[in-house]
Symmetry: C2
Subunit: 451 residues, 2 copies
């Protein structure tokens, strides 16, 4: 049953578009899920993609639009008239509708909104557009099923039949009081299992999780994952629990994926939001700044080495170990910072910064001593100079400890300051640890060798 | 409404345990969600945690057990008798029950299973234990709501009331034929909205997504995210669609989180499955092998530099740029490999390896030339030797191109061979690129300087 995007299929669709065989084209595409059609359209040129969008009915194409690659969606939207976009938007749930409109230039946003016929839909979308990015409000949909606590089960089922038509999936039925404030929830299962003449007030569960509309989306994701929720209601504020909307798990799954990808890219030194298929210019913009940071670090290392050139004129061998020292400092720093960044994201870094630093110091010391022993034996065996071997090995231990401390401290410090600690991993830590590492290495070697 | 784990709260619970004030302790804990109680228990010592587990009723404690930190759960399970574990397992859904039992030593697994009283539950758990790790079978639960296509809506609702009691959440109602083969699905909403005397055969949706029991969990996660599914039925095979169980989105959310964390740690050079709060020994075991790889790489760099010592005796400045060259090679390699690894995970790396390598080459060349210009100006301005500056800069461009190609090729190659490409990022790429980078750097410099 699994969909396979083949060249054959793409070519077939292209041919049908070219020959304008609309009937056959519709028949072929009708067999696929909208997410699959979006994958096909992502492979076509803009003109062909727009052709398909205009051909199929807006109930399907609105869903296809949501699934297109972001860059392609932008291009397709540019090729559609304000009226055509408004027609698509009419078919979408409020959250998706607001997302599509938010991607348009401001001028065009107003134009599209003014052409939405359904006044309630228009008002709800306008409300959603007002919430700040990355808040619960920006993610929620207005579509939900709610009942008043005074109703009976039979009355409820009757009215739910009416409300449910507009709601793609019913997770929970929210129970509100006469001021529209959230008081509890019911599952459809509870309703189906209850007797017809029972009052809602008698069967609803008052212990209901909710988030307020300004909550950060990452916190919403954490809560929903922790409590295994499939939907969560959104209220105006913790004090005034007026029910405003609901967030469903499929949107949270997308948030989690994006977040994981951003962190991963950040750790690799790629400013977020690029994909393997983006243009070379886009990829350069995302990658070059971090490489430039590395270049500056490398120049720093050069200056340090040059500064020690005289001092170690008879110990040229010391210079040959700088890449090793830099690599170890970088690797240890990345390891420590990754563990801390991940712990912070999962909210399980407990205890004080000091105890955390002490632990990292012990850990780094243990790793450092083990590695230094190998290095000592290698240098001693190949160079026969015990003093030099000793100086290099002791330096390595100190460098590893300092690198571990920097890797631990920087993300904790950034987090305390309210800055995303994920930027600390990758090139940032590697570069600073390279410089500190080489500097410390030469200092210690100088001390030990007594120069 | 949000739960806050405070030291105060933990101390209060500790005191109540010490004074064996069971009534008050129960009252305090009853107010919290089981996931919150698990967070509290994770902070207590083993003895206290076990005390709480034995105090509360098994309906709650079974859920708490599932939410405990894995290391703590292992310890708590060790402290419980086979009978006590069996009592917990009776309360859990089959998927969670099988997960708990799978964590026990083999001998104890048999003991616990033999003490499960509910024969059906026992048989189902035993079935689930037989599926291989990381397959759909290992993740699915046997609990689901199914109806036969020959039933009427009214008959369905009546029987669903019976089945639904055992199912925590009803996502979809699966429709099967008389051989128990999946033929379609119904949402509870459809049932609620339909007329009582309609036949299921007339209202069910035959277009139902499913996975077969041996499907890889990452593929299941990809499908559920792509099609926005909240549950997916699991069948015996694509040919023989006997309905075996279902997988729900909350389990997939956990899989996605674990996967993202594993990839992130792997990229940072940490063998999976450690947390910030693990012991120093565990953390060392996860980190030392990668650091050792870095050490070997550093020794390799040392040997290369030593090899070129004679050649460049009058160009000492070249040696001072080796950390820069190594850092740039490492950074570019990590960037390229991260983009490819992510693209492979998202299934959107299309086209041939050759076109991919060509693109990376152009990208790296562009980045390389820009960076090399800065480096050229710096070396020329500070050292006044245009030849040396030229040699170093040209080397940098070539090193960056090669590093980009290695970073692109290695994960693509591993993926083709069926090996997880994520292991290619981080220390592996950094180390190999360090060595290749320095080697290429000296070769090119030697050629250009005509030595």
């Amino acid at each position: 049953m699994q969909f396979q995007l083949t060249n054959q299929l793409v070519e077939k669709v292209e041919q049908l578009i070219e020959s304008q065989n609309d009937k056959e084209l519709k028949k072929v595409l009708d067999e696929f899920h909208y997410a699959d059609i979006a994958e096909i359209l992502d492979e076509l040129n803009l003109e062909s993609a727009v052709y398909v969008i205009k051909l199929l009915d807006s109930e399907t194409t609105s869903d296809i639009l949501m699934e297109l690659d972001e860059d392609n969606r932008e291009k397709v939207l540019k090729s559609l008239s304000a009226q055509e976009i408004a027609d698509e938007v009419e078919e979408l749930d409020t959250d998706d509708a607001a997302d599509i409109i938010a991607e348009l230039p401001e001028e065009r946003q107003r134009e599209v909104i003014s052409r939405i016929e359904d006044e309630e839909h228009k008002a709800e979308i306008t409300e959603l557009l007002a919430y700040a990015d990355d808040t619960a409000g920006s993610l929620m949909a207005k579509e939900l099923v709610k009942v008043y606590e005074t109703w009976t089960v039979a009355g409820c089922l009757r009215r739910i039949r009416g409300q449910a038509k507009d709601v793609t999936r019913v997770h929970s039925v929210y129970v509100v009081d006469k001021e529209n404030k959230l008081v509890g929830r019911l599952s459809l299962k509870d309703l189906v299992v209850a007797k017809n003449d029972q009052k809602i007030a008698d069967i609803y569960i008052s212990n209901v999780d909710y988030v307020n509309v300004n909550e950060d989306v990452e916190e919403v994701a954490r809560l929903m994952a922790k409590y295994d929720l499939e939907a969560i209601p959104v209220v105006e504020s913790d004090d005034n629990k007026v029910l405003l909307g609901r967030i469903t798990i499929d949107d949270i799954v997308d948030v989690m994926k994006e977040e994981a990808e951003r962190d991963y890219q950040m750790a690799a030194g790629i400013t977020s939001d690029v994909e393997a298929d983006d243009s070379i210019l886009q990829l350069t913009r995302a990658r070059l700044p971090w490489l430039f940071l590395g270049l500056v670090g490398g120049v720093g290392a050069f200056l340090i080495m040059e500064g020690f050139q005289e001092t170690f004129s008879t110990y040229a061998v010391l210079f040959f170990f700088t890449p090793l020292i830099a690599a170890m400092a970088g690797n240890v720093g990345v390891q420590s910072s990754a563990i801390i960044v991940q712990g912070l994201a999962n909210d399980d870094v407990k205890g004080s910064i000091n105890s955390r630093l002490l632990k990292e110091m012990l850990l780094a010391a243990l790793n450092g001593v083990i590695l230094a022993m190998f290095l000592f034996l290698f240098v001693w065996a190949t160079k026969g100079e015990m003093n030099t071997a000793f100086a290099i090995s002791v330096s390595l231990v100190v460098v590893i400890i300092v690198a571990g401390l920097i890797g631990t401290f920087v993300p904790l410090f950034l987090d305390k300051r309210g800055i995303d600690p994920a930027i600390a991993t990758g090139p940032f830590i590697t570069t600073s640890n390279d410089i500190f590492g080489i500097l410390i290495y030469f200092w210690i070697a100088k001390m030990i060798l007594g120069i």
